[in-house]
């Protein structure tokens, strides 16, 4: 059983671990303000020299071509190392846009943004981190969708069935992460692997077409290519996967964990 299940009380995913890995740098300490309350983070120390980069290049544990139907055996997730995410880098955003065909047309409030860089500041420090669909275990968007167009695959990937979406936008209202976009304009030159539709809602698919081929999401690949290695993709259910090992070793945090949605995207500082 995964240590990161919805009802898990072990604390392995809570980010409240206390360890003896050494003192964090002042920068790391500052960045953690964004992720967790001060009280929790004062107990945190990380292993020096261990980076997410080392794991970012590794393929998911169960990756392989033609994986077959999604099963609950896996739960795909992302780990984002905020300390490694460069303020001036948006390679993940560009890669997602190119991979899935959504574009910046100069209307930031109406253009779809499957992934965005959010600048978070406070307590004297600033960080920049990507926010996308958090692929919750209990996704509010799925709960509220009247037609069942919003759905969660057995492997935890939250998607929109473009044939069932009626464009009511209730899921956009319900998403705690502002992760969903409504397609406001007619579309052209769509990509076969990423069907979209005017008048429907869309969001990060975790590059499901790639995942099903045993590949990594485009954002993760792009992040690794820049040398930052701030993103790890993998199976949260597999305790031997790179992502699970990182989550077991170092504190990570789920955005708005208080809502109990159990996002599959975790944020942490791993260096």
């Amino acid at each position: 059983m995964s240590c990161c299940g919805k009802n898990d009380k072990s604390g392995c995913c809570s980010g409240e671990k206390s360890s003896a890995f050494g003192e964090p740098s002042p920068l790391d300490t500052a960045r953690r303000w964004f992720l967790k309350s001060a009280a929790a983070f004062t107990t945190v120390a990380l292993a020096p020299g261990v980076t997410l980069m080392a794991f970012a290049g590794a393929a998911p544990a169960s990756a392989g071509p033609g994986r077959g139907p999604a099963t609950a055996k896996e739960r795909w997730g992302l780990l984002i190392d905020v300390a490694k995410c460069a303020d001036d880098c948006s390679a993940c955003v560009s890669a997602c846009s190119k991979e899935n065909g959504w574009k910046d047309t100069g209307h930031p409030l109406t253009d779809p943004q499957w992934i965005r860089k959010v600048t978070v500041s406070g307590k004297g420090a600033t960080a920049s981190l990507p926010v996308m669909c958090q692929h919750c275990a209990s996704p509010p968007c799925v709960d509220v969708c009247p037609t069942g167009a919003s759905f969660k695959r057995a492997d935890g990937i939250v998607l929109v069935d473009k044939h069932l979406c009626i464009g009511c936008r209730y899921c956009v209202m319900a998403c705690p992460y502002k992760a969903r976009s409504f397609v406001h304009e007619p579309l052209e030159d769509q990509l076969a692997h990423a069907p979209r539709g005017k008048g429907t809602v869309e969001s990060c698919t975790l590059c499901v077409h790639r995942v099903d081929e045993g590949r990594q999401p485009a954002c993760v690949e792009a992040c690794a290519a820049t040398g930052h290695g701030a993103m790890i993709f993998g199976d949260l259910n597999d305790p031997e996967s790179a992502i699970s090992r990182r989550i077991a070793q170092f504190p990570t945090h789920q955005l708005r964990a208080d809502l109990g949605c159990d996002p599959g995207v975790r944020y942490g500082t791993g260096s």
């Binding site: 409030l109 069942g148 209730y170």
Partner: protein
């Protein structure tokens, strides 16, 4: 007991046809607006990924809420056995259906894919309160339709138990329906404006007020046609009293909503935005909802017993209702989501910022057309069938 007489409009006055024509024109404009939005995408509206529900939803929810309340007079007569309200029960029922159809039409026409209405009607996610509402709305139309039948059918109307039974079912159904409408917002846990059960009773209180205001205004308008008073002095006084109570209920639940939010520290930012710092939104609240929409009509009702005062108060209550829905729906979305509590955030997607919104003309046309759909249905119904009471002086 004197038999209650009903009538249908049989005059063809320019006033009546003029009104129908005006509503038909507005509906055509609304349909054109919907077609324009459907063809070009919602980019032509003021809505965005920050404000996904805009002016059409303000009108749609307003009409759906009012629909439930329009059944007031029928409920009072059948469920609470107050015979003096019986002459208004039929009109009350048809107006309830008409308002609901008007509201639903706007909701459907604003969908990103209105052509997929059949999907919404055949594919359900039963965990969705939205899905439940589809059942509640269609069920409401069917139940009130049956209720009207047993009230109007020559044979069925002679069985008081039937009227009472269907009236009772409709009464319970409308309470559930409005609870469901309020819960569409109340169940949204991530937004500071929502995530509260008090929205359901607030919507019920609002429905009582808007519904009765609509009913009174229709009665006043129809009185021009029937050339006879449809409300005696006694009923004017009763309607006045009911409006007073319903408005005070709205004030109570509105105050409760804001006090609950003000009590919780994490909502202080939202309350400051809505009540003080949010630009247009505090103005809509204090001037629109509270001033024009509640305080002024209450003062008018308090100081004047004239029919004109009653009509004016009803118009003001409805304006206040639109202001209230604007605040709940638009204001609730304009305030940013708190994804990183306690931190300042910014992004290309408007994180951490108040989302701007300016209603576009097509949105407004579509929204207003919902009111016209309701009024056109009512206008035609009273011409085709005896929904109206006989004037009190006949």
């Amino acid at each position: 007991m004197a038999r209650i007489a009903f009538q249908r409009l049989d005059d063809h006055s320019p006033f009546y046809w003029g009104q129908l024509g005006l509503h038909a024109l507005i509906i055509v404009l609304g349909l054109s607006a919907a077609y324009y939005m459907e063809s070009n995408g919602h980019i032509v509206t003021g809505m965005s990924n920050g404000i996904v529900w805009g002016t059409p939803h303000v009108f749609a929810v307003f009409l759906v809420v009012a629909a439930s309340g329009a059944l007031n007079l029928a409920s009072i007569s059948s469920v609470f056995n107050r015979l003096e309200y019986k002459p208004y029960a039929r009109l009350s029922g048809i107006l309830a259906i008409a308002l609901l159809v008007g509201g639903l039409a706007v909701l459907v026409l604003d969908l990103g894919r209105p052509d997929r209405l059949v999907v919404a009607m055949t594919t359900y996610n039963f965990k969705s309160i939205f899905s439940w509402n589809i059942y509640l709305y269609t069920g409401f139309i069917a139940i009130v339709g049956a209720y009207l039948f047993v009230m109007m059918d020559r044979t069925a109307s002679r069985v008081p138990a039937l009227t009472k039974t269907f009236g009772g079912i409709a009464f319970v159904w409308r309470l559930i329906l409005t609870t469901g409408t309020g819960s569409i917002f109340g169940f949204l846990v991530a937004r500071d404006a929502y995530d509260t059960a008090v929205l359901a009773p607030l919507f019920i209180a609002a429905s009582l007020l808007y519904g009765l205001a609509f009913t009174v205004l229709v009665l006043v308008t129809m009185a021009y046609e029937t050339r006879g008073d449809l409300m005696g002095e006694e009923m004017v006084a009763k309607f006045r009293g009911l409006l007073f109570i319903f408005a005070l209920s709205v004030i109570y639940f509105t105050a409760l909503y804001h006090l609950t939010k003000l009590y919780g520290t994490k909502y202080h930012g939202f309350e400051a935005f809505l009540l003080r710092d949010g630009g247009i939104y505090p103005a809509v609240f204090w001037l629109g909802e509270v001033g024009i929409g509640l305080a002024l009509p209450l003062a008018i009702l308090h100081f004047s017993r004239e029919r004109m005062a009653l009509s004016l108060a009803c118009v003001l209550f409805l304006i206040g209702g639109l202001a209230q829905m604007y605040l709940i729906i638009i204001g609730g979305q304009a305030y940013p989501l708190d994804i990183f509590p306690g931190m300042q955030v910014s992004s290309s997607f408007g994180d951490g910022a108040i989302t701007p919104y300016r209603p576009s003309l097509p949105e407004l046309m579509l929204g207003v057309s919902g009111v016209s759909i309701a009024m056109l249905i009512t206008g035609l119904a009273v011409k085709l069938m005896p929904f109206l009471p006989k004037p009190v002086n006949e």
